[in-house]
């Protein structure tokens, strides 16, 4: 089974780059630019790992994360300089995301 990875960001170009860079037969990338769609999707099919952008239209990554299943592994992605998330994210990734870094993270989640 492939690794289910969801990415929420309001920046569509970024979503496309993420998808193009990491979607493979082992990693199933699903991208969302609206938080509501993202939350719904996680409820329909539980992802293995989510990347959530902090700055989102009308909300932020913290708030979105609170609405997710706590068991879901969450990584906060942010271009902000100082973000102090209240939710227990697995990690925080600063934008711009580097492909290798994301790849290594994803690899660590892949089932052996």
């Amino acid at each position: 089974m492939s690794l289910k990875v969801y990415y929420l960001d309001d920046e569509v170009d970024l979503l496309e780059v993420f998808y193009d860079a990491h979607n493979s037969k082992d990693i199933d990338i699903k991208i969302f630019n609206r938080p509501d769609d993202f939350i719904k999707a996680t409820k329909l099919e539980r992802p293995d790992l989510v990347f959530i952008d902090y700055r989102l239209p009308g909300t932020n990554g913290d708030e979105v994360a609170l609405k997710l299943d706590p068991e879901i592994q969450k990584i906060l992605v942010t271009g902000e300089l100082n973000v102090d998330p209240k939710v227990n994210f697995l990690m925080k990734l600063d934008k711009p995301l580097r492909r290798d870094k994301v790849r290594s993270i994803l690899s660590s989640f892949l089932k052996p």
Binding site: D10, G58, R98, R99
Partner: protein
Amino acid sequence: MENIKKISSRSLVIQSKLFNSMVHSVWITLTFYVGICYYLDAPLALFVGLLGVIFLCPLILILEQKKYQQSARIFFSLSCYLYIFAVSPGFKHQIYAEYYYLPAIIIPLILFDHERFKLILSLIIAGVFLWGHSIIIGSDFIPEKLLATEFPSVLRHINFFGASILLAIFVNFTREIKRSMLKEVEKESDKLELIMKSMSEGLLVLNEHDDVISQNPAFCKILGLPTGGYKGKHRRNSELRHCHDDGTPYLPEDHPSRVAFRTNEPQLDKVMGLVLPHKGLIWLKINAVPFEDEGRRHVVMTLADITEQKNAELKNAQILNAIDSTAIVACTDLSGRITRVNENFCKISGYMEEELLGRDHRIINSGYHSKQFFSKLWNTIKQGHSWAGNICNRAKNGKLYHVETAIAPIKDFNGEIVEYMSIRFDVSEQKKMEGQLSEAQSIAKIGSFQYNLTTNQQEWSQEQYKICEMVEESSDLLYFHYRSKIHQEDLPQFDKLFERAHLYGEDFVLNHRIHFDKEKRVKYVRVIGKVTKDPNGRAISISGTCQDLTEEVQKQKELEVAKAMSIHNAKLASLGEMSAGIAHEINNPLGVIIGNIEMLNEFKDNPEKFDSKINSIARAAERIEKIVKGLRKFSRSTDHYTRSIENLSSIVNEAIIMTEHKSKRHNVKLEVHVEPNLEILCDGVEIEQVLVNLISNAIDAVKMHAECWVKVNGFNIDNTVVLQVMDSGFLSEGVEEKLFQPFFTTKVVGEGTGLGLSIVKGILEQHGATINLNRSFINTCFEIKFPEAGKAQNVA
């Protein structure tokens, strides 16, 4: 007037009467002589005739002089008849008619004044006696002895008749002489009358009963009487009040006329006040001279109206008294020794009068003035000129006092200086106040000046000299000295304003620079000129102030720098606040770029995808460029002003770029409706900062609201560019006044500095724009009104 004429010509009349009396007495004596010659021996007749001359002449003269003149005439006439009828020895024979008809002829001559009448009467009587005598001579009663005497009777008749005629002619001749003398008297009287009429002095003749005998027109005029005046009235009947110099009433017996009557001495130069019902108090100088006329005593009075002189004297006396009571007065002789001091002098100097008299003014010399000062003073007054100035003296107790002094040489009628009089006023307090004023001027750095355009006299205050860094001088070149210091760039404006002040009397205010040390150093001054005009509106003097604004200008410059810094800092604060969002805004496209670049190799064989990635990279790069540009502009220091005509829409868009990330983050809907062609003269960056502040504030104000939006509207109304920043929030009543004050904030503690709106207002004021809270909207609406681009003023 007639009486005066009569009195004044009295001497001539008396001379005439004297002559008449002499003729009468000579004639009577001659009669005696002739009669006695006939009757007695010639030597005896001569003797008797001489007796007659000797005794009768003086007697007649005396009687003629007295008022019993007419009685004297009758008496002599009767004497003559008695002589004829009683004394003549021929009486009983009735034959010596010639002895009595001669007196009969004379009697009318003596008794009557009318010349022709008495001449004719005398001739008639002579004729009657001649006729009667002829009858008597023809009779027998005439003794032969007598008939045979020296002359034949016919010759005697001829002799006596002729003698009578000659006598009449002689008497008439005397009358003619008298008449001509009277004519002379008339002429003299006319002259006298003319003199009296033309006299400015009043003339009055009183008899001893104080009845007014005569008066001249000037008398009536002085007393304001009708033409008749007091003539024939009693002087004391007038109810006029008389008074002495000192105002005390004049007793009737003290009146100069009464004194003259009483003492028979002339009363001269007596001054008397007279209260007239229609003129009030007048002052007269009276001379009263007694004289006698035909045994009656009179007083002739002259009255000169000295009211004006008296009033002037009174005024002078009052002025002198006032000066003496208020001023410090001293007189010195020609050598400078004090001859008189008043009480005020003693009071201020602390010396007794005895200590000052005979001393010179060195006793109060303070040493404040130089020797040259006093030397100049003495030279001035010795030349007969007055000297005026301020002198600092020292009192006995050592205390200095300032007196404003005027020293005038007092001259006699020949123009020779006899003494010097000084009038001083204590101006110590004024000096003190001047000192305080000078100090105040020094503190305020305000000098004052006065320029008399008529006399060219110019005066500066101490501070004015200080501002201009000049030594005090008395010069009519002060204006030119000042003008030479004015900065070349400011001089044309100064000249223009000064010329307008001079020509048209216009006041002026000018900020300009004056330079020192060959233009190496500059002072900033504000000159305020006020023009004084004469009644014709012509400028006569310019006075005003000159304030040294150098420190103020420097502080203003420092303030502007500080203000610019505060604006800059506020911008940095805004940047700080926005940095997170900005970083996000940059990192996003940067992530797109990096991500795409990292994958480019993978899409080398897929041109469509490759191009797509390249385009994505380019878009992302443009986004970053735009943000960075905005940041660069926004963070630029505003230490200098760069005004240009800017498109308002462009500025708004720049501001939106800077704030949209914030609006996005807080899910605040940001709407922009700005007309495309609105132009304003401004510093675009500053106006962008204003908008960023307002939009950012608006977002903060509504971000927690259920309905949250921010709208930016731009439009033109009546050539005024209006920019509105509205939000969905509400501002409570009463905050308008505080809204633009520094450190006022509606944000929670720690979120706002409270400087944003005050800086916004400051920036807009520098652009000649206004910002207000438009209460016509339900929601919060800040409304900025810019002047039209062409009319924008540089108010910075």
